[in-house]
Symmetry: C2
Subunit: 482 residues, 2 copies
């Protein structure tokens, strides 16, 4: 594949041009009717909301409360990651990320988008960079499948947990640490571990100090789902051959463009339009539907970003609520044959966001075969990417004619810079959405209770009450059908 | 990995025992409160609805209108597929499915569930069976990534399209046919193609006849999303080493168990409970959340089955409507760190369906390392699968305490038989759901308009009006932000 061939990176970014276009014609009442779409008046009122949200954002950023917005112009960590990549390139055949949620999704998304889709199954020579595996679950079958394919002596394990206490990641780490020690010896372990965690606190940081392990920091104030442009994402991505310099340059451009006035500001508009569709048009589901295999994991990454940030039970003023929009992943054209029927005819609870790429990095022409079969002649000589893009446009129009609203984000080409731009725009947009809903987009209080029950069931000390509480739950055998 | 080692298949199925348990305690008002859950009276009224739906199902089945229900006891096609697998095992290094939607999802689901998760990256010897790729999109980058990894001379392409006119699949086929002819010669082509299509009609069937290609039939009356147990799924799966005999035996057992009375009938209850949750409790989203990497594609397969079947704009009596529940895929424990916050605190529009496996096919013990770190000692000596299952239980309880309803489907072990049982149960349940909503679950009229626009944009003959209609659409440049 053409992308990322040759030298992957230097500290000088490539020239950044137009990287993303937002088109929301199909969200307006002109396209989908006044019941389903936004009218001129809605958009006028939006302007005021967005101006206030941007002001609030900038004030909080100034106070240092939104450090994620300044990551793209950091130079120190990217430099360290490029250095790691240079030395690791010859040393390791595999990089395995041990991380879950925000420690995994950004890396998976960028890796799939910017490295060849066959990266991990290519021959070593052709690939030129280590294979990258992201072990983001504790299923023993899945984890063993990765361990079986990665020769310990040629593998770097990048253990990523901000708190240093994540049960899943620490379990994986304990298994790997033990295997490394047993097969390579205690001294060699250090060569195969890279720890990414809080710069000061937590078990992982303590282990770094006591065992003298290599480590990179996760800056305080940057939560997992906003951390792709910290060492969390940059280290494994650089080691797999991603051009992180251009990735960050694209992200920096998105931050620059965030200074634009509301109706010319993609991050503000993406937040505002979805806010109106959710609160005024009851479009409580947001389908993210890239028309590019390489972007399918970006939709997964966005799924955490949007859902975990906006799904909240409490407004900033303390009022109880049940806020949020559910981002759902789909993939074009594949899911036209799976989900489109529902999007066209089912409940009017969805906005579709198409993500498109004008030019693909590879082209395949459909040859003029089967000429005697008239039904196929329209395909002869056309590009596969051309067909894919016409399907995207045709689907958007069909939805609109059926009163089903959509918007689209399109890049001229998928590059490191355009991907960085897209992801940073969506992160900015997520925080802005928090302002619009008047919730805190940076916390996740709802996940604690399940963890506590798990600790109780696992017999963790001082969680005995949770085990007891669990077992007091009434189970009615009538409702269990074998 | 242990599963599927040794001889994979014979015509004699293994003994079938308890394969699936449905537990809906957490859907009841006892667990989640009367606002969120079902009360005894709801369940009583459900009994009548389900009895009627089952009666309707059986009458239609008798008339031959539901042939999918009889597939598990067919012997002819499975025999042909086993024969193909036996001969293809030595002949081919790769099997590549060219198919989309229902021609791809079932195969991907079963393959991931029953073959080792590293099947395609394992060494040839260890694997013992051809690699299996499912090319279910026309992204040129994705398709080339597969073609680059599969030596044409060692590859069988299984072209699957019921109509024989699917634009995506036919485009892929044209590309592959041309490449085969150019690199191996016209005569050799036949050795590398297997066509699965309608037994009589369509372009693909005509090509089979005129070019003398190998072919398997898709039985009339079985739509794509119900076709996993036809040659559509069985042929590629058998060739990749899946025990299709046991898979079908499990499915057959699900059909047998479908004779049980409503409140002891998993297929009926799954339909009925979700119907009540949707229509009475406004749970319009159904999150399918397996706690097993191997089952993640089953959730994708279900996503088509449920959404395309139930998302309908018209009731059987012709009334206009906007019916359907949106099945969403999630994966435990991974998505506890991505989606759970929304499920716990966001809009009360979801039912969560956990899919669990009691015993994993591999175990890994977490070793007793880092003994000086007290926070980690609860993990020492425990199984990774044990932790995963406690997380599933802990999450379900946390959701319930927060008034968030869930149900669970659990298998003692993931085997060919238990997977067949699960999938057939869900297919039966989908058709029953159609009866409850009073819609036709077997058609998909909503997908035609988008296809027509695509034809128009591609310049297909006699679709000139669609191109014109497309270009007449008003685009307001104000709503495009570069």
């Amino acid at each position: 594949m053409a992308q990322q061939s040759g030298v992957n990176d230097s500290s000088k970014p490539s020239k950044v041009e137009n990287l993303l276009t937002l088109d929301y014609n199909n969200l307006t009442s002109d396209a989908v009717g006044p019941e389903n779409g936004l009218e001129a008046g809605d958009l006028t009122s939006l302007k005021g909301l967005l101006t206030a949200a941007a002001k609030d954002f900038n004030a909080r950023r100034k106070k240092g409360l939104l450090p994620f917005a300044d990551l793209p112009t950091d130079t120190e960590i990217p430099k360290a990651c490029r250095k790691l990549a240079d030395s690791g390139r010859k040393k390791y055949e595999n990089v395995v990320v041990l991380g879950i949620g925000g420690s995994a999704l950004g890396t998976s998304a960028v890796f799939k988008a910017l490295r060849p889709l066959n990266h991990n199954i290519q021959e070593d020579k052709k690939r030129g960079w280590p294979r990258l595996f992201v072990a983001d679950n504790i299923d023993p079958e899945g984890f063993l499948a990765i361990l079986e394919e990665t020769d310990l002596s040629k593998t770097l394990f990048n253990v990523i947990s901000k708190s240093g206490a994540t049960a899943e990641t620490m379990s994986q780490f304990m298994i790997v640490h033990d295997r490394l020690r047993k097969s390579l010896g205690a001294e060699a372990i250090k060569e195969h571990l890279l720890i990414t965690t809080d710069p000061e606190n937590g078990v992982l940081r303590r282990l770094v100090q006591s065992q003298g392990l290599s480590a990179l920091p996760i800056p305080p104030g940057v939560g997992g789902r906003f951390s792709v442009f910290t060492a969390v994402g940059l280290a494994p991505l650089a080691m797999a051959g991603v051009n992180i310099t251009d990735l960050l340059a694209g992200a920096a451009k998105a931050v620059e463009d965030f200074a634009a006035p509301p109706m010319a500001n993609k991050a503000l508009l993406f937040a505002g339009l979805n806010y109106l569709m959710t609160t005024q048009k009851n479009r409580t589901n947001l389908v993210m539907m890239p028309y590019a295999d390489s972007l399918s994991r970006v939709a997964d990454w966005f799924g955490q970003l949007w859902n975990e940030s906006l799904g909240k039970a409490e407004l900033l003023d303390g009022t109880r609520a049940a806020i949020g929009q559910t981002a759902i992943k789909a993939l074009g054209a594949t899911d036209q044959h799976s989900q489109l029927q529902l999007y066209m005819e089912g409940p009017r609870d969805k906005t579709i966001c198409f993500i498109g790429v004008d030019d693909f990095r590879n082209q395949i022409k459909i040859p003029a075969v089967f000429k005697d079969q008239g039904e196929l002649s329209y395909l002869c000589g056309r590009g596969l990417g051309e067909l894919l893009n016409f399907e995207r446009l045709g689907t958007a129009r069909a939805l609109a004619e059926n009163g089903r609203p959509s918007l689209s984000l399109t890049s001229p080409k998928l590059t490191s810079a355009s991907l960085g731009y897209l992801m940073q725009t969506l992160m900015l947009s997520t925080v802005i959405s928090g302002s619009l809903y008047r919730i805190n987009p940076l916390n996740q209080p709802g996940v604690e209770l399940g963890k506590k029950f798990t600790y109780g069931l696992m017999g963790r000390k001082s969680y005995e009450d949770m085990a007891e509480r669990y077992h007091q739950g009434k189970i009615n055998k009538k409702y269990i059908v074998p």
